[in-house]
Structure formats: structure tokens, C-alpha cells
Amino acid sequence: MPYDVLIVGAGPAGLAAAIRLKQLAIENEKDISICVLEKGAEVGSHILSGNVFEPRALDELFPDWRSMDDRPPVDTSVKEDKFLALTETGSVEIPNFLLPSQLHNDGNYIISLNQLVRWMGTKAEELEIEVFAGFAASEVLYDEEGAVKGIATRDVGIGKDGVPKATFERGMELRARQTLFAEGARGSCSEEVMEKFNLRDGVQPQTYGIGVKEVWEIPEENCNPGFVQHTLGWPLQHGPLDQTFGGSFLYHMAPNTILIGFVIGLDYENPYINPYREFQRWKHHPEISKHLEGGECVSYGARVLNEGGFHAIPKLTFPGGALIGCSAGFLNSVKIKGSHTAIKSGMVAAEALYPKLVEKEEFICCESYEISEDEKPQEVVEYQTAMEESWVYDELKEVRNCHAAFHWGFLPGLAYSGLAAHILKGKEPWTLENPTPDSAKTKPADQYSEIVYPKPDGVFSFDLLTNLARSGTAHNDDQPAHLRIKYSLKSLVDSNESLKTYAGPEQRFCPAGVYEYHEDSASGDKKLVINAQNCVHCKCCSIKMPHEYIKWTVPEGAGGPNYAMM
């Protein structure tokens, strides 16, 4: 079944691209066929984000969204913006005027990105865009010249032993004249395509943070809708020169919801750091627990975010398609916002692709139901140019050196960010180098001692598996594990290299408890166990695993978390 455009991922970027394409089709009275594929069970199932939302791109996509009858769930305006540096028992408030303008949130909204994406999904269906949820793109298809011609969905009905079962169904090939990859950060097809077309030549490696989030329902009288708070310091940073990057967020959303979470830069060096447990113990700080009093935790999840910024953006286009959204990496790590840039990138891609697709009417799939042999897969470089000229690049350029500055320590990093925001604005003639991928940053465990985390109390803090149940994660467990050990690194895993040198950090950084080392009852040796069915598709392991020995591949479609209010 051929389409004019195939979009992999029904997130903000993917849906924005689809919607914009259809808007152009309606405006120009020339229709094109669009298919959006989503590996989650429903549109939104895998969407997780803080989220303080800058409506800039939404204003462009739906200029009248505020007056729509079925308006998007963007309601809670930011009223108060607090920035605290925490010590173990106390806190210091950093006054607003000292903070870079990027951290000021006037005009922004506290939202559930999950709910916004679901709303965008209904808009896409109204526009008759075909959205198929529950199907995972597992293979990128190439033509004889090596151009992307579409994707194939994953075969299903294979047992845990790798043998096809009675319910085996071969995946489907979806061909398209243009394929947009909108899989979010560290997308599996996107990473493959970046490697195949050398899209990362000349740019810094992408670096990431892991974000762990909970949603709490609190008594309505305690809710202060519009309250935004970010903290640094305890428990992650012990002193002003501490190089571990990360901090927390806490937002009050109408009518009775608290969105709370913790982000840790995956360039951390201490292999004993446990992002999940840092988050849990942070909640006990009096400044934090006071917000959670009388409340109930209703949802939990995790996802990585791009932190590389401007200098880590790859080349965006290749013959047959392009990268949009966080798959490319447009998150502004100083603003801590990437949804608006993701939506904008989807729109810019649509605006660049559309004229190319309808240039020659005889090639339009919508009419002919086939992809013409005469058309060579195009590389729509206009998308790259348009992005470079857009406000996305403008804002990312301003903060291009900020994240790397945190390698001097968090206070110097903060100071540099302030300097960059108020004075330098990215125009400084130097580029702070950041050539090391996150996995190579981890130092051997013998240089550190184990961190003793407090036991969860079941009221404010929880053990991982209890929380994991709140993510709605489910996979059909009779399928091969989707977290694959790279064959070339098999001997590394067999010899327990990660455990021996780094004390097995995968037992700590995975926010779903997938990786464990069990003692073999016979030999007494420790053996790696991969509980793939716990996976929340955050992609942390593919990034931070020592030597990156894990390749993240898609499981059967519809598996993974089922976020609702995230």
C-alpha cells in the first residue's frame, strides 16, 4: 500500500507534519495520501513530558485554537515561576531577575503533552489522515540506489524461543514517496538512518538526559494551578562544582494535579547514581513533600531527552525522507522545552515537502494508488534550509554552548547560561567541545563508593516495581526480548564486563528494572537477566550502557507503557 507521505511516530512532530500537510492539501485543492504509524497501543500511549508548553508553534498550526469549541487541553497558564537551590534540609530561592529569560514562563501553559497529542490525533483523524496505532516500524526499506522507500512493520506471533507460533503474521511493507521519522529522542529507525547516510558527520554526538516523572492527584484546595518550580542542588549536586547535570520540576495543573519529575544528564560519571532513587529521595525534601500532602500518585513513567542542542543536530534530510522532532533533536535544554520546536519542525517539513510532492501530478499516490517507477526518491533539502532560517535554530543557537558549560560544574554552568542568555546569545566565537558520548563518560566503579539510598516510605516515595505498575506497561511476554545484545559485544556481556568494571550501572539507570544480575544457583556466578517486558521504551539503556552493548529494537506493536495523563 503506497502513500505519498509516511510518518513514523504519532507524537507532536509527526502529527503536526501530517496535519500541516493536509491543511496545505485542502488550501491548494490537491490531496495527498498520508499515513502515520504509532508503536503505542493508542496515539499518546508513549508520550511523556514535563510539560511547560510554549504555545508558539500551536499558534501557527491552529491559529484559532483558543476559540475552538473542542479546544486543545491547554488551559493552565503559568502564574508563578520559582527556582530553588536545595540543601539537604533547606533551600535558597534564586530570584527571577537573575535567571536567563529562557527560564521565564509568561505566556506559557502547564499541560499534559500526552493529552495534547491525543487531541492532535483526533484532529488528524478529522482531516482523514490514516493513523494506525499498535504497529511498530521495525525495518527501514531502501531501493537499489540506497534511498529510503518506506518501512516494514514488525512480524508478530514469534515465540520467546524465536520460533514462529500459530498466530505468526508477517509485517507489512509500507511504501512512500517521502518518509518522515518522528520517533522522538533516540528513535530506532532514526538512529539507523543517521548512520546509513552519515547524517552525523561533522556534528557533536547527541547527549541525553533521563527524565523520570510522576503524576499526583492532590486535594483540590491544595492545588495552586499555574505554579512552576524547578530545583537544583540536593540530592544530585553536592557542591557548586559538581559536574552531574540535572534537577527537578514540579508543576501544579488545574484542577488537582501535580506533575513532578527529575532529569539527570546521562553524562554523569558516577556509576552508582540511580536516577529513579534520586527522584524518590528528593521528594522527601520539605519544600517538595509539602506539595504532595494528602495526595495520591496515579501515574509513573520515564523517557530520555536530547541535551546536545544546536551542535548535535544532524543533517536532517536524506534521499526519500527526513528527520523531524526529537529524532533530530531540537530540544532547548536551557528552556527545558522541546515540544514547541518539535511541532514547528513537523510544520516546516510539511511546508517543504508539499510543493515537491504535488509538482508533477502524475506522481501523486492519492490518485494513482501507486508509486511511479519514473520518480526518483527526492531529498527535500528545502526542509533543511527552512529549519536553519526558522526561529527554532535562532533559539537553539543562543544557548548552543550552555549544556557543555556544565562540565565545569553546576554553578559555572549556570553562570555561563546566564551570560549566554543575557549577553553572548550564542554569538561567542568559541564552541565548547563535547565530543564524548554519554556511555563513555561513566568512570570505573572503584573510583566511587556505593550510594546508600533511603528505603521508600510508600507515602511519598515508592519502590520501582510498585511505581512501574502505574505506567500501565504491558508487553505480550511470549515474544523474543526486544533489547538485543550487539553481537560484536557478546563476549563483553558474557564476561560481565559491565558488572566488573562499572558495578553494573544498568541495574540502576533503567527506570523500569529491566536489567538485573542474578546469581546462578549452580555456579554462583552472576548472570545478566533482561526483563524486557518491563520496558517503558525510554531508550536509556541504548545510550548509557557501558560500550552501548544494547541495541534497542521495537517489540510487537501495542506493547510498552500506556500513559494517560503524562
Binding site: A41, E42, K165, T167, M172, A469, G472, T473, N562
Partner: protein
């Protein structure tokens, strides 16, 4: 042979449900919904009959809100030929109970004259397990519930019991069958089939337009969560255990 299959839209089996604030129902806001697992088994059985050329047409029927049409679409993607959607805004996990559903399905059966009606043995929200039996009674036709295998040629059904299985025979069709877990393993709805299913027809009618009294006679007073499980304790020896069992738990 024409087969009618019932499919119900229920809370997905993997969801951790919570009680709504007013304690009158389960909180369904933003909760993932799917086809009832036993209905999937019923659909699979019907589709296999069609593939074995024993059935000529399969109709999927669902009673529920607007979104229940998606559940019918899934049944169509698995292989049913057409769908019937009886719309209702009543809560199908508690307001609309088995007797009402049975009466509504009886009306559909009168219209469509199927030779076999296959339902799931129970839904995973209401868990009544009564609809199939009640439907057979309303229609005064045979019922073979908790089916582990159905043989339409020999007219026998192997049913699950608490102690194993028993084989029963049914005298004639039409008859009602309810699917139990071991009946089959449902197939995946593949993408090509989902695309084809978009073209299949679904007839939509309001459930209260069928002339059926939809009053269950029951009212849900309260919905509450079970008390949280308390932690276990260690006892020092067997005597301590016996003492606890006798004097605290009161089971000896």
C-alpha cells in the same frame, strides 16, 4: 451457517483501575479500553469456522458508546464480515447489566437469524458470566457455556468445569456458545486487514430504540478498593505460628 459474535469494549486487562472520587464507579477517564479478551476468543472461533468453510457470514455486534465502533472494527479486521453497533451512554460495566444485554442481543438474533451465537464467557469489567446463559433462555435455545472446544459436526462441546472438562451435546442449532480461555489463541489484527476493515459495513442504531426495557432492577451503591494488603510477619517457631493461627487469625 451464519454466526453472530458479541464483542464488548472494556477496560484493557493491563490497566490498574482506580475508584472514581464519588465511589460510585471505576474511574474510566483517560483509561485504555480494548476488546474483552474472551470476546477476542469468540471472534477467533467464528473466523476459523469461516476459514473452514463451515460459516458463510460472521456478524460482530457490540453494545456501547460511540467508541465501541473501534471494537467492532477490530473484530472486522480479525475477519468478521459486518458489524452492528447498538449505541448507549449507559455505563456498560455496571448500569447495563447481563439481562438488558441479553434482551438486546435477543432482538438482534430475531432480526439476523444466526445459526450460532458465540459470546465470551464473561466480561472482565462486570465479571457476571451470565449474558450467554440469559440470552439462550430468552430465545429458548440450547446453551453450551465455558466451551473449550466446539464440534459443529458432531454437535458436541467440551466444557470447562472446576474439576476438569465434560462433554455435552446440543440437539440442534441455533444455539448459544460462550468461549472459555482454552478455546483458541486469537490472531493478531494485521495492518492490511485493518485497512480492509475500514470498508466493511457497520449498522448503527440506538439501543433504546429496540423496544427493550433496559432497567436492570439493580443499583450500584458503592464501589471501593479492597483493603491494602498488610505485610507479613516472621514468627520464631512452630508454636508461635500455631498461636497466631489460633488466637489472632481464628482459623484453628
Amino acid at each position: 451457517m451464519r454466526v453472530l459474535v458479541g464483542v464488548k469494549r472494556v477496560v484493557d486487562y493491563a490497566v490498574k483501575v482506580r475508584v472514581a472520587a464519588d465511589k460510585k464507579a471505576v474511574d474510566l477517564a483517560n483509561v485504555k479500553m480494548s476488546m474483552n479478551p474472551f470476546c477476542e476468543i469468540a471472534v477467533e472461533e467464528a473466523v476459523r469456522l469461516k476459514e473452514a468453510k463451515k460459516a458463510t457470514e460472521i456478524i460482530a455486534v457490540s453494545i456501547g458508546p460511540k467508541a465501541a465502533a473501534e471494537t467492532i472494527r477490530t473484530a472486522l479486521a480479525m475477519g468478521c464480515d459486518r458489524g452492528i453497533h447498538l449505541t448507549t451512554d449507559a455505563r456498560t460495566d455496571q448500569e447495563l447489566g447481563p439481562n438488558s444485554v441479553a434482551k438486546l442481543l435477543a432482538k438482534v438474533v430475531e432480526e439476523e437469524s444466526p445459526d450460532a451465537i458465540i459470546l465470551g464467557k464473561q466480561s472482565i469489567d462486570g465479571d457476571f458470566g451470565c449474558t450467554g446463559a440469559m440470552l439462550a433462555e430468552h430465545l429458548k435455545i440450547p446453551q453450551c457455556t465455558f466451551a473449550a472446544t466446539i464440534d459443529f459436526d458432531a454437535k458436541t462441546v467440551e466444557r470447562e468445569t472446576d474439576t476438569g472438562t465434560e462433554v455435552v451435546s446440543f440437539p440442534s442449532l441455533p444455539a448459544v456458545f460462550t468461549a472459555d480461555l482454552r478455546l483458541n489463541e486469537p490472531r493478531y489484527a494485521t495492518l492490511p486487514n485493518i485497512m480492509k476493515a475500514k470498508k466493511k459495513k457497520i449498522d448503527t442504531k440506538a439501543a433504546d430504540s429496540l423496544g427493550v426495557e433496559l432497567n436492570e432492577g439493580n443499583t450500584v451503591l458503592e464501589v471501593f478498593e479492597p483493603p491494602p494488603r498488610e505485610a507479613g510477619i516472621f514468627v520464631d517457631d512452630v508454636d508461635g505460628l500455631v498461636d497466631k493461627l489460633k488466637n489472632e487469625a481464628g482459623v484453628l
